[in-house]
Symmetry: C2
Subunit: 356 residues, 2 copies
């Protein structure tokens, strides 16, 4: 972290230090002027959208922007649990899902870029229908129309967001300069799909017992296992213990925590439909002719490296492959801050040169 330009109501002690540093590095007046110019905004736009598997439906586009409207535009999208709020701003001070990369001085700096993001359609749990990643790409195109943004300098997608990014690049190429696709591919891997199907069965089993929250918690715990790696667990957790006549393994407290936290903020319908959506991913990479940076992680339990190689080989535009090694597996994008920062800066710098 270098500096932040927002007053911090809800930060913890370690982050208060940062705001202090921010004051030291940048005059308060300047910070406020920048903030005023690049005010974060939020909105909701209702549209009718033709869904690939469910016909025409009314959907809500709940978006957020950061940074001045005149700057080059980046669309940023994360996993199925991510949302429109990337990082704290003066207007929306709560923690975001990608604070490590979004903010003043970071790779995705609202002083350099106009950042656009949205809540996945289906994330509110109101749309109980199969959702194709292509539907999300079309929803984003509709959102850009509504915001009068003709073209994105780059689409930066992680996990499900990378899948949607590939769809966007394939379906709306005239609106995109470059794609940065992190830990996502052109097709759902059959093994990862099976893993997700069993998560959805856990939800169904919970619903059968009239206990949706326990089913959803178990689904999340299973998902967390798929996001992380044996390497991390070996470092973090010790042997199992017998407690009250039952065996409790060392990771169970952590998994409990993950499950409870998720249940508190997630609609079951949203989880089911977005989880399904990942499994519907199908893009022919040869339909993509614009520059793509593919970021893969060697330890990713959901996306074998071979899938990323296959993607790279079949793309038709300029491509760049970055392979990280990380004990965080599929979650590396959220944990390997320095590596991801380097990759984003490199890709965006090249992109700016091409644009200039």
């Amino acid at each position: 972290m270098s500096f932040a330009h927002s007053p911090v109501a809800s930060f913890d002690a370690s982050e208060r230090f940062v705001s202090h540093e921010a004051s030291a590095l940048a005059p308060v007046a300047a910070v406020e002027r920048l903030s005023a110019r690049g005010a974060a905004t939020r909105g909701e736009i209702a549209i009718e959208l033709d869904l690939r598997h469910a016909g025409r439906r009314r959907v809500l586009l709940r978006y957020e922007t950061q940074g001045e409207a005149g700057l080059p535009v980046l669309f940023v999208a994360g996993g199925i649990s991510a949302h429109r709020h990337l990082a704290p701003s003066r207007e929306f001070a709560e923690a975001g899902w990608w604070h490590s990369q979004v903010g003043a001085g970071r790779a995705l700096d609202p002083q350099r870029f106009h950042l656009v993001s949205f809540d996945w359609i289906g994330a509110d749990g109101e749309l109980d229908a199969p959702l194709d990643p292509a539907d999300q790409a079309d929803a984003i195109a509709a959102l850009l129309d509504a915001l009068r943004i003709p073209r994105l300098q780059a689409f930066i997608g992680y996990s499900y967001g990378a899948m949607v990014g590939l769809q966007f690049a394939s379906r709306h190429p005239a609106r995109l300069g470059e794609l940065i696709s992190i830990s996502g591919t052109h097709r759902a891997h059959p093994y990862a799909a099976a893993w997700r199907a069993l998560q959805r069965r856990a939800v169904a089993l919970g619903a059968l017992q009239c206990d949706e929250s326990q089913g959803l918690a178990l689904a999340r715990e299973l998902a967390v296992l798929s996001y992380r790696t044996p390497e991390e667990f070996a470092e973090r957790f010790g042997p199992a213990q017998v407690r009250d006549g039952r065996v409790r393994v060392a990771a169970e407290d952590y998994l409990d925590h993950c499950g409870h936290k998720y249940v508190a903020r997630t609609s079951t319908t949203a989880f089911l439909r977005l989880s399904e959506s990942i499994d519907l991913q199908q893009v022919d990479p040869s339909t993509i002719r614009l520059p793509v940076t593919v970021v893969a992680v060697g330890e990713d339990r959901l996306i074998p490296l071979s899938e990323s190689y296959d993607l790279i080989e079949r793309l038709r535009g300029e491509t760049r492959l970055r392979v990280l090694r990380s004990i965080y597996g599929h979650d590396a994008c959220l944990k390997e801050e320095t590596d991801i920062d380097t990759i984003l800066r490199e890709a965006l710098a090249d992109c700016s040169q091409v644009a200039a």
Copy 2:
């Protein structure tokens, strides 16, 4: 530990051969005559056993033998779902769990070896208590006492059986010539343990409204995923489809089949207690000073290769490492018939030379 040969009341027709041996006071001559023909025998022996986490309990040792009693003795043990019946014999013609390696002309040939196997204690679902793999090793020692077998030429263990084999080698070294440990290690890996803990949670979720079978089926489906690999699924299964407004992934029919089959033959208590037992595995390899062949599989999702390297490095006797590559992962032992055959023959040939 103590044991008593108890007359067994509950034999079915196919088990009539055993009653001689099982009621320990049967004339030795009768047993010898049966053995001389290489007949397969079965029996049940009730003993009192001191369980590490649950005190003294009555347990049933349900064993099977194949091959003449005078031949070198091999103890053969598989995963938690395996049992005493390795392969068809004249007496017990039904399919066994390891028919690929056990039988006339195969690596584990009843014409060359006296094969002994048993049902894991806890497998009948009667023992609802934490079971340590060390308890299983002690139960096997008690079984050998009862069968008047002072020493095994080799213990051949796969998966949980390999874990128990390591316990046996550590706790009863005077009774063992050599250990062949396939896809099992000295400690439960914390990631694999977490995976199993979530399977047990699926059972608990099912039990909430007395629908144990659905919970157990889901647990099994999750286990199957851990036994197999993305490489196999990529070869076997295609893309997901939308059916009746729901997404169904290609592996679901297969997983359904695995779940149903398992529920039909498995006690929920047995599954829970044996699954827990894997997570209690802790052996200090430096306590093992006899020859060990460690067979590891590069693609095993439950046992990273690094665990097998660690085991090999810490064993104190003669060691041999065999690393297979297999798309069947943890299940390779049951699927890679030729490789396993070669490894078994090699290890047993060396063992015979040492013995001679």
